[in-house]
Amino acid sequence: MNTWEDVQTKKAEMRREAVSTLSKEEKEILVKILDLEWENRHMKTPDIKKQLRTFIQQVVK
């Protein structure tokens, strides 16, 4: 049976592996979108598209 520690280890490996395929810019976008979602989690329909687009335009040139 999987213990919770096993689960955590597998989760960490899975995260590393998934993120390793991303470029530096893409990693920045990933962090940014999660931050934006977290900041706007209280809103039912948060409008973060504009901020997100501007950010992507800044990092991918």
């Binding site: 096993d6 991303l22 989690r41 598209k49 992507i56």
Partner: protein, 693 residues
């Protein structure tokens, strides 16, 4: 969330003010609430839902105010309606209150006189209290509404949870535990941003790219439309599967029908096993192809090489007569093979001559390639053999699946065509026939739509690859294209993270379920939480192998309770993980300890389960609330839970009628009023009475 107290005032069945203090985690973590049918057991569950979310899971949703309270009130009198729940979560105490204010008018009608109030007061360990700014959000963070069905539920709902057709609901529930709402939002927003970049690309595109952008837009819209259709079709399919399971369950109660259903279940199990084998077959085939797939065209290359070499030999070009090394040695030594010294002119001549012996280099290269080709020829033979074997295994499994599917249809036809001489069975058979036919049709529809979506997806991939290629000549488009690709890559990563995390947690829950089953149900059965997020229970067949049978209602309830206990453990682990975060990267749902609040949970259980399940459950969950009628409580359940009861209450039912309707019950050595007849009343009501604390 550990419940401390609920206060109820004039809420539906409950007249006046009443309160229940809940037993706390520890050796006596169980609160027992006894109530006759109609005394408000389900109403009590709904009191939590109404207080937290302004929601009622009942038919007459608009009737929230207690009829008795309205009846007794004088004209013009205010009638309060309130539910307050006090609980602790991560060492903080929360008091959640929902209150409506009514006034009785002439003619006995009531109207709301003030705006309803919903508030949460937060008390920290050091005694400070503050009002929550956003109570609606806060309660949904502590207990997301979609999760209430796992912690507060009725007996009948438990069986539904354990049915195969509940797979999508269980997957949605587990996703909620893992805070996928946030990730789903992130994916949606990234996709939206991606669409914007594609729109920009359409604006700047010229020539072939312009045509390509239009094609991409068209394909994207077609795929999205089809995805919407697929979602509806899948929902229809789930609903039909639920109908089929319910009908089969009803049919299984007839002894004449049971052998057919058992046979069908056995075949379904075989089919499930075969489908698993098919997945393995496909993986094996993929492995063979990925390892040596490049050799598929190997024959052409090997043959072309051989033809080239043979032609060179025929033309006398190979083998090369003079090797460059031989000429180099002559020049370096300065002495001819005949022994005479080579002068500068001779050396210059030899150098120019050496340039003409290039065929020797070719020969060396050909020799090298020849050796490699020999190796590849052997590998190609192995690859051909492996490929044939993998294809054969896959085809055989598919053939077997088709055979088992036909057998299932045969049993279905037999069952549907057989005259059991009983009207009710015939009626059920007829309904089942319709549902099964419909299911076959809908299944085909779903397969077709899935194929359609996949086709569009692959077309889109190709078109986008083509766009990347064309964008190389247009710098502006190239940048926008890169931005789009970046959003796509992040979306794919987020999707992968979700899928992988879900699969890891599914494995964890499967393990916990098995452990709980051992501890709680103590019955020789194989229980599983499958990769399809379905609960399954198997028993030993005549050969000793595990086989699916039509599970009894008791088995299904026990299975569902063990699964919910596993979820409660998961919530506790998530809570610990969150609490351990230094710079708390909070999630909307932070986990922690949760109670199990159950209405009539042991109703259909046999003597074995009535002994094992309650006791086992109270050990695996931190807090348990059992709302139950006295008949179901008396006997095994009471004996088993006696030592773990912390608090106990009776929902005393007052009902119009004569004295002959009065009922008392014996609880813990005391005689308690259970049903009280009221001469002057024309409606039922209940009051909450504490009997043990």
């Amino acid at each position: 969330m550990i419940l401390r107290k609920i206060e109820i005032e004039n809420f539906r069945q409950f007249y006046g003010k009443g309160a229940i203090q809940f037993a706390q985690p520890g050796a006596r973590n169980t609160t027992v609430i006894l109530g006759q049918n109609g005394a408000g057991k389900t109403t009590l569950l709904n009191a939590f839902l109404w207080c937290f979310y302004d929601r009622l899971d009942v038919e007459n949703k608009h009737e929230v105010l207690c009829h008795r309270a309205v009846q007794i009130a004088a004209i013009g009198e205010e009638i309060p309606l309130a539910v307050t729940v006090i609980f602790t979560d991560h060492e903080t105490s929360y008091t959640v209150t929902r209150r409506n204010f009514y006034q009785k008018l002439d003619g006995g009608v009531v109207e709301e006189v003030r705006s309803p109030e919903f508030r949460i007061d937060i008390s920290t360990e050091n005694g400070e209290t503050q009002k929550a700014d956003e109570p609606k959000t806060l309660i949904r963070q502590i207990l997301p509404e979609k999760l209430t069905g796992f912690f507060f539920f009725r007996g009948e709902e438990m069986e539904t949870l354990a049915m195969q057709s509940s797979g999508p609901n269980l997957a949605a529930g587990v996703s909620e535990f893992l805070n996928f709402t946030l990730l789903n939002q992130a994916i949606k927003h990234l996709k939206d941003a991606g669409k914007d970049f594609e729109a920009e690309l359409r604006k700047v595109a010229v020539g072939d790219m312009k045509r390509l952008e239009d094609e991409i837009k068209e394909a994207d819209e077609a795929m999205e439309a089809l995805e919407g259709v697929l979602e509806t079709q899948q929902a229809n399919l789930s609903s039909l599967s639920r109908d089929r399971e319910a009908l089969e369950k009803e049919l299984a109660e007839a002894d004449e029908v049971r052998p057919y259903l058992d046979k069908k279940n056995e075949l379904r199990q075989r089919k499930t096993d075969l489908q698993q084998s098919e997945i393995e077959n496909r993986r094996e085939l993929a492995k063979v192809v990925s390892r040596n797939g490049f050799l598929a065209k190997g024959n052409e290359i090997i043959d072309a090489f051989s033809a080239l070499a043979t032609a060179a030999v025929k033309a006398g070009e190979l083998p090369a007569k003079i090797k460059p090394r031989f000429v180099d040695d002559l020049i370096n030594s300065g002495i001819c093979v005949c022994g005479t010294s080579l002068d500068e002119n001779a050396k210059q001549y030899l150098l120019s001559w050496r340039g003409k012996v290039g065929l020797a280099v070719l020969e060396e290269a050909i020799n090298l390639v020849d050796k490699s080709v020999a190796g590849l020829t052997g590998r190609k033979a192995d690859f051909d053999k492996d490929l044939v074997a993998a294809r054969f295994a896959w085809a055989k499994t598919q053939e077997e699946i088709d055979r088992v599917t036909s057998e299932v249809s045969l049993v279905d036809s037999e069952l549907q065509g057989k005259d059991f001489g009983l009207d009710n069975i015939q009626a059920l058979q007829s309904k089942l026939r319709t549902v099964v036919d419909d299911l076959i049709h809908r299944n085909a529809e779903v397969r077709q739509t899935t194929d359609g979506v996949n086709n569009w997806l692959s077309k889109l991939d190709k078109l986008r690859d083509e766009r990347t290629r064309l964008a190389k000549d247009q710098s502006e488009a190239q940048v926008i294209g890169r931005r789009f690709t970046a959003t796509q890559n992040v979306v794919n990563t987020l999707k992968k993270l979700k899928d992988d995390w879900l699969a890891i947690v599914q494995g964890y829950l499967d393990g916990q379920l098995k452990e709980n089953w051992k501890q709680v149900a103590q019955l020789d059965r194989l229980v599983e939480f499958t990769e399809e997020f379905q609960l399954s229970i198997k028993e030993r067949g005549p050969t000793g192998a595990w086989t699916i049978s039509a599970p009894s209602s008791a088995n299904l309830r026990a299975l569902a309770l063990c699964f919910v206990s596993a979820l409660i453990k998961l919530a506790a682990q998530i809570g610990k993980a969150e609490a351990g975060q230094e710079n708390k990267r909070q999630q909307p749902f932070q986990g922690g300890d949760y109670p199990l609040v159950m209405d009539a949970p042991f109703a259909t259980m046999d003597s074995h389960f009535k002994r094992t399940v309650p006791l086992g459950l109270r050990k695996v969950v931190p807090q348990m609330v059992v709302i139950i009628n006295h008949d179901q409580w008396s006997g095994e359940v009471a004996e088993t839970l006696q030592s773990s009861i912390g608090n106990a209450y009776v929902l005393e039912l007052h009902t119009p009628g004569g004295e002959d309707t009065d009922t008392t019950i014996l609880f813990n050595g005391r005689n308690l009023d259970y049903v009280v007849s009221e001469q002057d009343a024309n409606t039922d009501w209940s009051i909450i009475k504490e009997v043990l604390q």
